[in-house]
C-alpha cells in the first residue's frame, strides 16, 4: 500500500513538474474534502471501507493532476458510531477545517443529526446509503437508493417474474424497515393484494431465535399461493434467520427471501452455502460484468492490498458522488458551495454497472435497479434488472401526505417539499407527512 502511495505521489509530482502552470497552481491551498465515517464502534464494520474508498478516489484524482489545478486533501474525522458526535464532527469539519465538501454517514439517524449543521453552515454532504426517503435538503446529495429505486422494483420483480401472490414483510424494529414496509404495504394493497395475503413481522435488533417466525412463514406459505419474504432485517440478525430457513428445509425455490440490507460485505462473514438462490435488491453488485467495474475492483484490491477485498453498493454510490462533485466543480470553476450546488444538477457520470448516473433536481440520482441471487462464493449474480435507470423519488407516491410533495432545487422553485395540490412550499407539508405516519 505504501509503495502504491509513493508511486502515486511520484506520478503526481511528475505531472505537476511537467507543466509550469500546474506547478503554480499546486502551490495554492489544497481543496479540502471532509470524510465523516465511523472508524470505531458498532458501525465501523460498514463505514471504514467507505472512508478508504473516498481516500482512494482522492489519490486517483491527485494523480491525474488534482482539481482546478489544486491538490485535494482528505480531512478524516471519527464520529465513533455516536449520533450526537456526528453533528459535532460535522461542525468541526465545516467551521474549523473549512472543508469544501463532506462525504459521510451511514445510518439515517446519523444523517438526521448532521442535517441541521450542514444546512446552517451551508455545507455539501454526499450520503451514499440506501434509505427510507421522505427527505430532501438543499445541502445534501443522496447517492444511495430511495425506496422507489430498491424496494418497489424488487416487489415488482417477485410479482411479475416469480408470480408471488402472498407476502411476508419481515423487518427489524426501527425507522427504516417500518417506513419501507408502510410504503410496500400501501403499494401492494393498491395492486389488489388482500390483507390476509400479507404478514408483517418485526423483531428486535440482533434477534437470534427465529424458530417460531420461520415456522409461521412456512405455514403461511402453504396456503396454495406462491409466497415470498421481503426482508428489511438489519445486520447480523440475518445470519441465524437464513440458517433457520435452511434447517427447516425452506429453500429459495420454495419461498424466496429478498433482502434490502444484505450486501457483499455482510455475506463475507458467513457460509453462504444454504443461502444460494435467495435474493437481494441493490443498484450495484461486485459481480456486475462491465469493464469499468473490473477496473474499479482491480484498483480497490491494489489499494487495500487484500486479494479478498470486496466492493459493495455504498462504495459505488461514493464513486458516483465523488465524480459528480468533481465534474460540478470543474463546470462551476470554483468550489464555492452555492455555485457547485447549482452546477451539479444535470451532471452525468458513468456508474460501475456500465451505464450513467445523472443528478436530478431533487438531489437524488438515477440508478439501475438490480436483483441478484446469492451464490456459494459470497457474491450475487444479477438475474434481473430494470430496462433503464430509475430516478430517485424523495417523497414516496405511496404514503398519504407524501405523495403530493415534490423536491426541486433549481431556480426559481428551490424547494425540498413543494406541495403540488396546495401550490406552496413549506415545512408544514413535511410535518403533514410526518403526522400521517
Amino acid at each position: 500500500m505504501t509503495t502504491f502511495k509513493k508511486r502515486l505521489a511520484s506520478v503526481a509530482l511528475t505531472t505537476a513538474l511537467g507543466t509550469g502552470m500546474n506547478l503554480a497552481h499546486a502551490q495554492e491551498d489544497p481543496i479540502k474534502v471532509g470524510i465523516l465515517h465511523s472508524l470505531s464502534g458498532t458501525m465501523a464494520i460498514s463505514e471504514t471501507v467507505l472512508k478508504d474508498t473516498v481516500e482512494m478516489l482522492i489519490e486517483q484524482q491527485n494523480a491525474e493532476g488534482g482539481l482546478l489545478g489544486r491538490e485535494l486533501e482528505a480531512v478524516v474525522v471519527d464520529p465513533a458510531s455516536n449520533w450526537p458526535l456526528f453533528a459535532e464532527k460535522a461542525r468541526e469539519l465545516l467551521a474549523q477545517e473549512e472543508v469544501d465538501v463532506i462525504f459521510g454517514n451511514w445510518t439515517s439517524v446519523s444523517r438526521k443529526s448532521v442535517l441541521p449543521v450542514v444546512e446552517e453552515l451551508n455545507g455539501l454532504l454526499f450520503y451514499p446509503v440506501q434509505y427510507e426517503g421522505e427527505e430532501s435538503s438543499e445541502n445534501v446529495f443522496y447517492t444511495g437508493a430511495a425506496p422507489n429505486q430498491q424496494a418497489i422494483p424488487a416487489v415488482d420483480y417477485l410479482k411479475n417474474e416469480l408470480g408471488v401472490e402472498r407476502w411476508v414483510l419481515a423487518g427489524t424494529d426501527y425507522v427504516y424497515p417500518r417506513t419501507t414496509n408502510k410504503i410496500l404495504e400501501t403499494y401492494l394493497k393498491d395492486q389488489g393484494v388482500a390483507a390476509e395475503d400479507l404478514m408483517i413481522n418485526y423483531t428486535p435488533f440482533g434477534h437470534s431465535d427465529w424458530q417460531n417466525i420461520v415456522s409461521d412463514i412456512k405455514s403461511f406459505g402453504s396456503a396454495g399461493k406462491k409466497t415470498a419474504v421481503v426482508s428489511t432485517i438489519n445486520g447480523d440478525a440475518n445470519v441465524p434467520f437464513y440458517r433457520e430457513l435452511g434447517n427447516q428445509g425452506i429453500s429459495a425455490t420454495d419461498i424466496p427471501v429478498v433482502a434490502f440490507s444484505v450486501g457483499e460485505q455482510e455475506l463475507s462473514g458467513i457460509d453462504t452455502g444454504p443461502l444460494v438462490g435467495h435474493l437481494a435488491a441493490w443498484n450495484y453488485f461486485m459481480s456486475v460484468d462491465s469493464d469499468v467495474n473490473y477496473d474499479f475492483i482491480d484498483q480497490w484490491i491494489e489499494y487495500t492490498g487484500d486479494e479478498e477485498a470486496v466492493t459493495n453498493d455504498p462504495m459505488e454510490a461514493h464513486y458516483i458522488g465523488f465524480n459528480m462533485w468533481v465534474e460540478a466543480v470543474q463546470k462551476a470553476e470554483t468550489t464555492e458551495v452555492g455555485a457547485v450546488k447549482d452546477a451539479i444538477i444535470g451532471v452525468t457520470v458513468p456508474n460501475l454497472t456500465g451505464g450513467y448516473a445523472t443528478m436530478m433536481p431533487n438531489h437524488h440520482i438515477t440508478k439501475p435497479v438490480l436483483i441478484g441471487e446469492i451464490q456459494d462464493n459470497g457474491q450475487f449474480t444479477t438475474v434481473w434488472q430494470t430496462p433503464s435507470t430509475v430516478a430517485g423519488d424523495a417523497w414516496s407516491d405511496y404514503l398519504p401526505g407524501s405523495r403530493d410533495l415534490i423536491a426541486d432545487w433549481r431556480a426559481p422553485m428551490r424547494c425540498g417539499n413543494y406541495n403540488v395540490t396546495v401550490g406552496k412550499c413549506g415545512a408544514s407539508a413535511g410535518e403533514q407527512a410526518a403526522a400521517a405516519e
Binding site: 440482533g206 437470534s208 445470519v239
Partner: protein
C-alpha cells in the same frame, strides 16, 4: 485426475467405436449446451429436458453445474466451460464436454449462463425425474418428495408408469400424491382428492386450498372434508412443534445461565463478565476450526474440552486478579467485572477482528429430523438441547457426589466453620469460579452453532442469564433448569400472537411480578443456607 481422464477416454471410445454413431449425434451435446447459453427464459425448459434425455454421460454434470451457476461460456471462443472454483478474480475452469481442466481464466473473459430460481425449480423437477430410476432407495425417496407439485403434462405419464414399477410402498404413495396434486390442480379431478386426505405436505394442502376456493361444487365439498381432517392433525403437530421450540430456546437459556448459577448462585459473585466467558468459548470453537480446516465436526467436539479450559483459565485469572480482593462488596464487584467485560470485548475486537467470524456447522448438525411432512425437528437445536441436559447432569453430579461439591457447599454455607474443619477456602473459591466459568465456555461452544460469533455475543445473553438465575431461585441448580425451560416455553407460546418484541417484554413483566410475590424465586433456599 487420472480416473477422470480414463473415464473421458472411455467415453470417447464408446462414442466413436460403434459405427452407427453419426457425426451429428457426436456434436449434439455441444449444440445443446450452446442452445442453453442462447435460450430465452421460455425455451430453457425444453433445452434442459433435451439435455436430460440426451443420454450423454456428463448430462447430469452439466445440469448440476448449471443449477449451481457454474456453467459459463468463454467470451471469445464460445467454448462452454464448468467453473470449478469461483472465488477471487481468476477462476479455475474445465471444459464441459471433455471434463479437461483448463486452468485459471480471468473472470472478465467468461460469460455466465444465467440461471435463476424459476429455472432452478424446473431443474429440480427434471433431476427428480432422472433420480426416480436410481437404484438407491434414499435417492428415489428424495426424488419423489421433490416431485410434489412439480408433476406436469410432460411427465405425468412417466410418473404414473413408474408407480407400477416402484417396489417401495412409501415412495409409491408419495408418487400417487404427486400425481393427485397435478390432477386436482390441472384437471379439476375430484376422484383423487381422497389420496391427498391424509397428507401433511404443504403442497398437498395448497392444492386442497385451491380446490376449496374453486367454482366447481363437486370439487369443493370433498376438498373441504379432506382439509378438515388435515387441519386437525396439523394442530397437534403445531402444538408439538411449539413445545420443541420452547424447550430448545429454554435449553439455550439454561446453558447460558448454568455457569452463572454457580458463580452468582452458589458463590454470590455478581459476574458481569459472564457473557464474555461465553464469547471466549465461541471463539475457541472458531479457533479450533481454523486449526483443523475441513473437519468442522472433529473441531467442534475438540472445542468442548478446549472451550471449557480456555474459559476456566480466564475465570481463574479474573478471580485471582480482581474478585478475591472484593469479597463481600457486591457493588464494587459488579463495576469491576463490568469493566473486565468491556476489556475482553475490545481485546477480541483488536486482536481478532471487529467483524463476526464464520463458524461452520458440521454436516451431521444441519438439516432436520423429519417426523412427518408437517413436523420436523431441527438437528442443531436438538444437539444443543441434549448437550444442555448432559452439562446439567454432570454439574449436578459434581455438586452432589464429589468432594469438591461437598467443599463448595460447606464453604458457601459457613466459611469460618468450613475453614476450621480444614477446608482450604481460597482453593475452593478458585475451583468453583473456574467451574462456573468453564461451563460458560461450554455454552459458548454450543451457541456458536446457533448464533453469530462476534465481540457482542456475550452481551446478548448476560441479561437473560441473570433473569433465569433470579427466577429459578439463587443457589439452586434445579431452579435454573426449570426456570430456563419454563421461560423458553412461555416465550415461544407468546411469540406467534404477540410478536417477538412484545413476547420478550411480557416475559420480563411476568418475572418482575413473580419476584414481587416470591422474592426468592421458584425454588428458594431453605434452612441455614438461606441465612448464610
Amino acid at each position: 485426475m487420472s480416473i477422470s481422464r480414463w473415464l473421458t477416454f472411455l467415453l470417447i471410445a464408446l462414442l466413436t467405436v460403434p459405427g452407427m454413431t453419426s457425426a451429428q449425434e457426436e456434436r449434439a451435446p455441444e449444440a445443446l449446451l450452446e442452445q442453453l447459453a442462447e435460450a430465452s427464459p421460455r425455451d430453457t425448459e425444453t433445452v434442459i429436458k433435451a439435455i436430460a434425455t440426451s443420454g450423454h454421460e456428463r448430462a447430469r454434470n452439466w445440469l448440476d453445474a448449471y443449477g449451481n451457476n457454474r456453467l459459463s461460456q468463454v467470451k471469445d471462443t464460445g467454448q462452454i466451460v464448468i467453473v470449478l472454483n469461483n472465488r477471487g478474480r481468476d477462476w479455475e475452469v474445465a471444459d464441459a464436454i471433455t471434463g479437461e481442466n483448463l486452468g485459471e481464466t480471468s473472470r472478465r473473459d467468461l460469460d455466465r449462463i444465467a440461471v435463476n430460481n424459476a429455472i432452478r425449480r424446473q431443474l429440480e423437477g427434471v433431476m427428480a425425474m432422472m433420480n426416480l430410476y436410481a437404484n438407491d432407495l434414499e435417492v428415489r425417496e428424495a426424488a419423489a418428495l421433490d416431485l410434489m407439485g412439480k408433476v406436469d403434462d410432460a411427465v405425468v405419464e412417466d410418473v404414473t408408469a413408474r408407480i407400477e414399477e416402484e417396489p417401495d410402498a412409501d415412495i409409491r404413495s408419495r408418487l400417487e400424491q404427486a400425481v393427485a396434486i397435478y390432477q386436482v390442480e390441472e384437471q379439476g379431478s375430484a376422484e383423487v382428492i381422497n389420496v391427498l386426505a391424509g397428507s401433511l405436505h404443504p403442497r398437498a394442502r395448497a392444492a386442497l386450498n385451491n380446490a376449496v376456493a374453486s367454482e366447481d361444487p363437486a370439487l369443493r365439498a370433498p376438498a373441504e372434508k379432506a382439509l378438515g381432517s388435515i387441519e386437525q392433525k396439523l394442530k397437534m403437530n403445531k402444538a408439538a412443534e411449539t413445545l420443541y421450540f420452547g424447550l430448545s430456546l429454554g435449553s439455550v437459556l439454561v446453558l447460558a445461565a448454568i455457569g452463572l448459577a454457580i458463580t452468582f448462585g452458589v458463590m454470590g459473585v455478581i459476574n458481569m463478565a459472564h457473557g464474555e466467558l461465553i464469547m471466549l468459548g465461541a471463539y475457541t470453537t472458531w479457533g479450533m476450526q481454523q486449526l483443523l480446516p475441513g473437519q468442522p465436526g472433529l473441531a467442534l467436539i475438540l472445542s468442548i474440552p478446549a472451550g471449557f479450559l480456555v474459559a476456566a483459565l480466564a475465570g481463574i485469572a479474573i478471580e485471582r486478579s480482581v474478585i478475591q480482593f472484593l469479597k463481600g462488596r457486591p457493588l464494587e464487584t459488579l463495576l469491576a467485572t463490568f469493566g473486565i467485560s468491556l476489556i475482553l470485548q475490545q481485546l477480541v475486537r483488536t486482536v481478532i477482528s471487529p467483524q463476526n467470524r464464520t463458524v461452520v456447522s458440521p454436516e451431521w448438525m444441519s438439516g432436520s429430523l423429519v417426523i412427518n411432512d408437517a413436523l420436523s425437528l431441527t438437528l442443531n437445536r436438538m444437539y444443543v438441547l441434549g448437550f444442555a441436559l448432559v452439562v446439567f447432569a454432570t454439574l449436578m453430579l459434581i455438586m452432589r457426589r464429589t468432594r469438591l461439591g461437598l467443599e463448595v457447599r460447606a464453604v458457601t454455607q459457613n466459611r469460618a466453620m468450613a475453614r476450621s474443619m480444614g477446608i482450604r477456602a481460597t482453593r475452593v473459591d478458585i475451583m468453583t469460579f473456574a467451574l462456573g466459568s468453564g461451563v460458560a465456555g461450554l455454552a459458548g461452544v454450543a451457541l456458536s452453532q446457533l448464533t453469530n460469533v462476534g465481540p457482542n455475543l456475550g452481551q446478548n445473553y448476560i441479561i437473560d442469564s441473570f433473569m433465569v438465575v433470579v427466577f429459578g431461585g439463587v443457589g439452586n441448580l434445579w431452579g435454573t433448569l426449570v426456570a430456563g425451560l419454563t421461560l423458553g416455553t412461555i416465550n415461544q407460546l407468546l411469540e406467534p400472537w404477540a410478536g417477538a418484541v412484545l413476547a420478550k417484554i411480557i416475559v420480563l413483566v411476568f418475572i418482575i411480578l413473580f419476584i414481587q410475590k416470591r422474592p426468592k424465586g421458584l425454588f428458594p433456599q431453605k434452612g441455614r443456607a438461606a441465612e448464610a
